[in-house]
Symmetry: C2
Subunit: 582 residues, 2 copies
């Protein structure tokens, strides 16, 4: 076996919030090898370039790129003179910083016109750079005035033919345009000067706004970063994998959290590439010490912290649970209650893992914070353990746990979702967005391959609940049943505090879907949905202890999803009975 | 003079946050005449349709429209049968609600194909409706499958030729597509069944997402609502002007605030229409009791509430102000300080008005909250008075006030901006967005026609400052000078706590703009900007009392704007001196 050198990992300072000193500290702490210095971060800094260089050295960070230099090429002679003057000023800065590569973006100026002139002027710029031992990485912006694809930028670089002129490839600019990245494979590695990585959700909007506000770290969005990076590494490119992500949220979030999130995204990207990449690439990108997620068979238990333990216990009893030691059991469902002074929340859950020790090792390698008691702390505060489930109890009305639904601030949901998916080995399911009575809610979910560990995250866009007496950030545990109508009827008879659904809902359901057994659904306040694969019957308890409720779901056929379309009626009903007029 | 009947004003329940009872209460309180009932608001409500009807009657609200009914027309026979069944169910609901008009949106179903079939099936639907005394308003969605323009919907309605079938026009669907609304003038008024109004910022993005998330109330966005409504009213349309605004913020803001904001937008729209509309329209829309904004000659004073009054007083003295009674004066600038226990803020300002009594009457008519002491309270909390400025003091280094810069939560900025513009008679200036060290900031500003009352609002997108030790929501007062370099030099010599700007800024400025007197700018920490019309020199003090600072600006030529491009360096510097490495 030959020596394998892992790729160096970098990040642009523009990805993070704060002043340059905040950013460099966060980048180093998260374990990156290098940084791209975003010009404006330097311009506003009280540190001289030399001081920045010293600080990076002290932190063990290389400075890999100085960026961006804009609107240089294919201009009239007087503009060229001004641009070269501007470039020489920046070369001065680069020398003081000790960085050898400058990013030049394709021009967005309306004056720019001609390939030959672009090649000629970039050749001139590269010659000036080479005199000082510097080099130029030319990048096609997706909204460049006439150079807006990577293959066009490559034609110009080839035509210019200067050894100090090469390409910078940015996954956003290539993939947002729908360019075929396979053409990258034919570019010689020594002309690929730099690689910038960004993912993004698939949005249909202005390219510039999309890029400036909505980029995400790899594996958080909708782009095929695995395929893209594979093409680049297949050329033999040996430079850094460097993140350049413009994101409104990351720009103002704690940079220490963002940097860890960024590093995790690169580990996940490398893991996927080590499975799906070309043979020559796989070995290079493998993350040492990162085992695959062991198979999960479900939940060992879910723990609710609540100020209303008696009420929850009564509810569980009315739903058919029995107490065994400190756990309420029914079929495969196991619920623990523990007291707290604040509102109820899902405080912890355990995953029934085929190999708990390996699962924990994986979590640690993916930078999951480990608590002193050995549990893992998810970004939303939930504690996670890995273990082996005891033998199931006798099933009754309920057979097990279908899913748990957690909450996260909207700003944090991309990193929270990636955390759960990567640490537990889950796959993302299609997202849903719906208009709840007090604002929009986005529902993300992920599931293990067998559907035994399903986790939903419901996030309120913006600042839901500021004015409204709504239930803030409700969480729930959903149990499975084979007969929702029977379960609802029996539980209600046993005194379970089930939620009443208004008649208007059933009138509309009749008009829309005309479901079977409509009268029984109405009678028992059971909600109904249908998709191409099957049906869903589900009902809920009232909110218990201020925030948590239980749901019961019956999946018929291969129904996909969680009945998100019914969430607004459930949320309005949860707001509670209001006095009726007259 | 003949009797003039003002148009009735309505709003769709979907514009507001809350449950149906919350919404109806807010709508009635803001003085609307009627509502559109958005179906989902009814479906999730515990109130029966009859109860909703009674509640509206009690509140003095008419129910003007039931909406929306989707994907009806031009379908296969079996789908038609299901659609008619669905419609009859909804007609039942409408009869109980006591509403006679149903909105039918053009279909987005891929099955829809043919104009003739659409006309035929809509004719059938209208016949069914007419049997019950109901009628159908057909609306072209901007993203309809094949009917996506108002003229196309009009061709179909005309072809169907049923008296119970007419058009619903929605300004968003017409103006977002860039359709020429002039063609509306030829549609007979008796075929215009309903008019929905929404403004929106000019965004280049997916039409559906734009419509569902980013609509605004009239005069808050970039559409020509005045021209649009003029075309509609010119036909003789006598139905309500009804707002239908889908907006993520409004969906979760206090509905009582939103409803007032909505009503103000309609008053402003009517005022503009009364000036710029067709002769036949003007008189109908005029808002009784709303006088035009009297001319403003500047600020009578600006009041800062501060826990650091001594520090602010020392600073004003070092900047050349003299104390006269309770006011610090220099030229036309007049500053009052008053104590507070919390951080500094611009608590109040007075507008030097040509007719203070009329200005106050205008504010009241535009629903501005009046405090017990007669001052007006802006949505951002600032108190406003109208008065007459005393004779100016002797000018020194400073000659007057250039602008004040206030802050508002991002969620509130559209309504805050409309409040200032309408109440004070200001015009919006181009908005700027820049990347501050701790997140993006959007800067909106407005000015009276002579540039004597300029007000900027800087708003942090998302939740700036949650992690960062940045200055939260800084506000400032900007004074005018004829010589910024001289002023900075003298003030600094006098001990004014001016802000130091890092060398990197001047190195970059040299590379970019090579300004005259660069060394003096650098020496005195004076910022510089240039546009096509002129130049700006400006400098700031440090933050005083936790939040407020003073700025000094010198406008050369006809420079437009406020030097927003320099804000990041100022904001980074305001964060304060940090220890340098080594």
């Amino acid at each position: 076996m030959h020596d394998v050198v892992s790729p160096r990992l970098g990040i642009a300072t523009v990805c993070l919030s704060g002043t340059l000193d905040d950013k460099l500290a966060a980048v180093a702490e998260a374990g990156f090898d290098g940084v791209e210095i975003f010009e404006n971060d330097l311009v506003v800094s009280p540190w001289s370039p030399k001081q920045v260089r010293d600080r990076c050295a002290e932190l063990g960070l290389s400075i890999d790129l100085y960026q961006p230099f804009r609107d240089f090429e294919a201009v009239a002679p007087d503009v060229l003179a001004a641009n070269l003057r501007r470039a020489e000023h920046k070369f001065d800065v680069m020398e003081q910083l000790g960085v050898d590569t400058m990013l030049v973006c394709s021009s967005v100026s309306p004056d720019t016109v001609d390939d030959d002139l672009a090649a000629e002027q970039l050749h001139l710029l590269a010659s000036r750079a080479a005199r000082r031992g510097l080099r130029i990485a030319y990048e096609a912006l997706a909204w460049g005035r006439f150079v807006d694809t990577y293959d066009h930028s490559w034609r110009i670089v080839r035509r210019a033919g200067h050894p100090a002129l090469g390409l910078c490839l940015d996954s956003f600019h290539v993939l947002s345009k729908g360019s075929d990245p396979a053409g990258i494979r034919v570019i010689p590695a020594d002309k690929l000067f730099f690689l910038q990585l960004a993912d993004a959700p698939r949005l249909r909007m202005d390219m510039l706004q999309w890029s400036r506000h909505h980029r995400l770290f790899p594996c958080q969005g909708g782009f095929d970063l695995v395929g893209f990076v594979d093409h680049v590494l297949a050329t033999g490119y040996a430079g850094p994998l460097s993140l350049e992500v413009f994101n409104d949220v990351f720009r103002q979030a704690n940079p220490h959290h963002t940097a860890v999130d960024a590093m995790r995204s690169l580990l996940v990207l490398r893991e996927r590439l080590a499975v799906d990449g070309s043979p020559a690439v796989r070995e290079r990108v493998r993350v040492p010490g990162l085992p695959p997620a062991p198979a999960a068979a479900g939940y060992t238990h879910v723990e609710v912290a609540t100020p209303a333990a008696a009420e929850l216990a009564d509810t569980l009893r009315a739903m058919g649970f029995h107490r065994s030691d400190d756990t309420w059991v029914q079929g495969r469902a196991r619920i623990r209650l523990r007291g707290t002074d604040v509102t109820s929340r899902i405080a912890a859950f355990g995953v029934d893992s085929a190999d708990p020790a390996v699962a924990a090792r994986r979590a640690a390698r993916l930078l999951a914070p480990i608590r002193p008691d050995g549990t893992i702390r998810a970004p939303d505060g939930t504690a996670i353990t890995f273990g082996e489930a005891p033998a199931p109890a006798e099933p009754g009305l309920l057979t097990g746990i279908d899913h748990i639904s957690l909450t996260a601030p909207f700003d944090d949901v991309d990193q929270t979702a990636l955390f759960y998916r990567s640490v537990l080995g889950l796959e993302a399911e299609p997202a849903a967005e719906f208009a709840a009575p007090f604002g929009l809610v986005r529902s993300l979910s992920a599931s293990d391959p067998t559907g035994r560990v399903r986790i939903a995250h419901n996030v309120a866009l913006l600042r839901r609940g500021e004015w409204a007496p709504a239930v803030p950030d409700p969480q729930h545990i959903a149990f499975t049943t084979d007969d929702a109508i029977e379960a609802a009827s029996t539980m209600r008879a046993n005194g379970a505090p089930l939620l009443d659904i208004p008649d208007n809902y059933y009138d509309d359901l009749d008009a829309r879907l005309a479901p079977p057994r409509l009268d029984e659904l109405r009678e028992n306040s059971v909600l109904y949905d249908r998709d191409r694969h099957g049906e869903l019957l589900h009902f809920s308890t009232r909110i218990l202890g201020g925030r948590v409720f239980f749901e019961v779901v019956q999946r018929i056929g291969a129904y996909v999803g969680y009945g998100a379309g019914n969430s607004p009626v459930r949320m309005a009903a949860h707001r509670g009975q209001r006095e009726r007029p007259q």
